[in-house]
Amino acid sequence: MTKQERMKIPRQEMPLQDTLIRRGNFEEVSLGLPEDAAVKEAERCLQCKKPKCVEGCPVGVLIPQFIKALREGDINEAVRVMKIKNNLPAVCGRVCPQENQCEGNCILGKTGEPLAIGRLERYIGDYELSRRTCPMVKPHDTGKKVAVVGSGPAGIACAVDLGREGHKVTIFESLHSAGGVLIYGIPEFRLPKPVVHSEIDYAVQCLGIEIKTDHIIGRTVTLDELLGEYDAVFIGTGAGLPNFMKIPGINYSGVMSANEFLTRINLMKAYRFPEYDTPVRIGGRVAVIGAGNVAMDSARCAVRLQKSMGMESGEVHVIYRRSRDEVPARLEEFHHAEEEGIIFDFLTSPVEIFGDINGNVTGIKCIRMKLGDADASGRKKPVPLANSEFTIDVDTVIMALGTSPNPVVFTNNGNLRRTNEGTVVADNETGRTSRERLWAGGDVVTGSATVISAMGAGKRAAADIHRFLMEGM
């Protein structure tokens, strides 16, 4: 096929669950490309000599190579190539912000639509999950022991790479289920939990990694004790501590953090109450504050709960102080949220929450904003417009304003250097911290970021830990 012919093939669309139906269920929205569409999409790739897409990928997936194998019909080879750099393709293919990473850099995007790399990655991941074509083998035992704290993407990526080198790895997780945000945060309709369990179980079985759930490091066991027992320790505890706005009324019943709302729904399966014991409360008029992935997930869960409880006239607002152009969520999720009928109140910021005498939320007072000059983050700064206050009647308020690292893990660890924001100070290339034999990576170092950047940090730390264990430096 010539370059011109390749460029004439249209980008293959992702089949989706019908908008009206999906508003009332928690089943996956994107259904996955069928085989012929996947191969056709793969045909679009120009196999660039200097592939820009790879530069945009935080773990450097060998994109042109896996795509070549896919279109040549050698899918086992495509899986093998993928797994050199990425152990969780079925997860990343679903949740990575591709438009800012690989696809954002793709040369096809200059004149037309970029290659749907994420959709192909998911195709490979799902194929592999159903066939188990590529067993990872544990080489001989090095006799070295490593403790990994936290089982999110950073911890899992670190553990898998160390396991592949033949080290004995134990993961400690405070919750009862491994996976971090992939399990408790990201909803089923975006990332089905069996996909996460399956990816983790598989890696763990192949490599003999042990996962100890119900172990809160800092309480059940301390970091000092882990350092006494293991040759190296990696901290990948994420940024799970929710921020609440400093406005009056946040303690009314009906105000909750996105973490609480999403944990009830995803980890505890509250959308299936009373079959599952944990309930979740949702009213007919919901305000979600923020517009990142966490806010989109909360708003879309809220719509689904309303519809499944028969609140057909329910309303879900997303309140965001900047404009549509600054929405930080993945583009696809923002679009899906709009399709599902979520109301976006842009350039709006809450100033107070109202409640009734029983302590239940009744409304949220907001102020209109305009965009001023760029601030330190390079984004235009929202400025309040005088005398523009107004009230929205709501009975549920969900705060999705970002998170910071949970300090529990650091109990009695005075000499580990951390920033004022509570994140761990660690070398970007190696993950080394101010304490000897202690590495850290993922959201606990960067603050809330992405699945793939956490995996990247876990992998870089694993490489450095391996070097340290084998060469003692």
Partner: protein, 288 residues
């Protein structure tokens, strides 16, 4: 999986269980709690560590059958397993030599108060204990409390045992005549509220152990938050013990009621399932 090694009924509604959980027993101390989940359908229930044995690797919990989860837990027996037993969580009680102290326990609060009173006594304090319950049937561990107290006052709301009074009555009498260094109070929130209001009048520092609704118990969801004079705190990681004089009790009480309706649904459903089980058994009997 965590095995139930022993189960005792302290009275009709309150059960004690000894759980095999060496990872918790290793580090446990008075004032801390665990998160229990019965099975894969279960919620994460916080329960105080009533006792522990490091060498045996066991932890004792005592719970009142209130709703679905605690009734379900109470229906399990020695040999059964729990899916989750995580901890120890929260900060231990600060035990030191204060002087004369009062420990106030309401209902199932006797369980968490006992190890605190014991530790305070061992640290050389004069311990006066006031134990209260709605009626005689809800009292337990009177003798145990007596062994760790210099003085023990027992009262019931209905007068079915001990003195007919709520705990604040004897408390007020003692505070009026004795110099008390510190008060601990654990029980229903409403009891802790009134104890705190009273001790504030007498200017006696008061520690309460809050039982807000929790999900993770590790500081991740903020569901357990409580308003203090100096802002919101998370009970699971900042507590569970707080200065009773600084708490916004009304906000706490209203937040505890958030899931009342759902709790009723779950509890009703559970009892329905139990009754079906029982009628199945009787049906089976007839066949024999």
């Amino acid at each position: 999986m965590y095995t139930i090694l022993d189960k005792q009924a302290l009275n009709d509604a309150i059960k004690l269980m000894v759980i095999e959980a060496p990872h918790v027993a290793r580090k446990a101390s008075a004032g801390q709690f665990v998160i229990v989940r019965i099975d894969d359908f279960g919620e994460r229930v916080p329960l105080t560590i009533a006792d522990f044995d490091r060498s045996a690797g066991t932890v004792t919990i005592i719970f009142q059958e209130a709703g679905k989860s605690t009734k379900h837990l109470g229906s399990l027996n020695a040999g059964d397993n729990l899916a989750t037993f995580a901890g120890p969580l929260g900060h231990p009680t600060e035990i030191k030599r204060y002087g004369a102290v009062i420990c106030v326990a309401g209902g199932v609060g006797i369980a968490p108060v006992y190890p605190i009173a014991k530790a305070l006594k061992e640290a050389g304090n004069v311990v006066i204990s006031i134990v209260g319950a709605r009626n005689k049937g809800l009292l337990f561990w009177e003798e145990r409390m007596r062994t760790v107290s210099d003085e023990l006052i027992v009262c019931t709301d209905d007068g079915s045992y001990g003195r007919k009074a709520v705990v604040t009555e004897p408390l007020k009498e003692i505070l009026s005549v004795k110099n008390i260094a510190n008060v601990w109070a654990i029980g229903p929130a409403i009891m802790m509220k009134f104890v705190s209001m009273l001790t504030k009048e007498f200017n006696v520092p008061t520690v309460v152990s809050l039982n807000t609704i929790m999900i993770d118990g590790t500081g991740m969801c903020g569901g357990c938050r409580v308003l203090l004079e100096d802002g919101a705190k998370f009970v699971c990681v900042d507590g569970p013990e707080f200065d009773g004089h600084k708490i916004d009790w009304d906000s706490l009480l209203s937040r505890q009621r958030i899931y009342l309706n759902e709790e009723r649904i779950a509890s009703g459903r559970w009892e329905h399932i139990c009754n079906l089980d029982k009628s199945d058994e009787t049906a089976g009997d007839k066949d024999k």
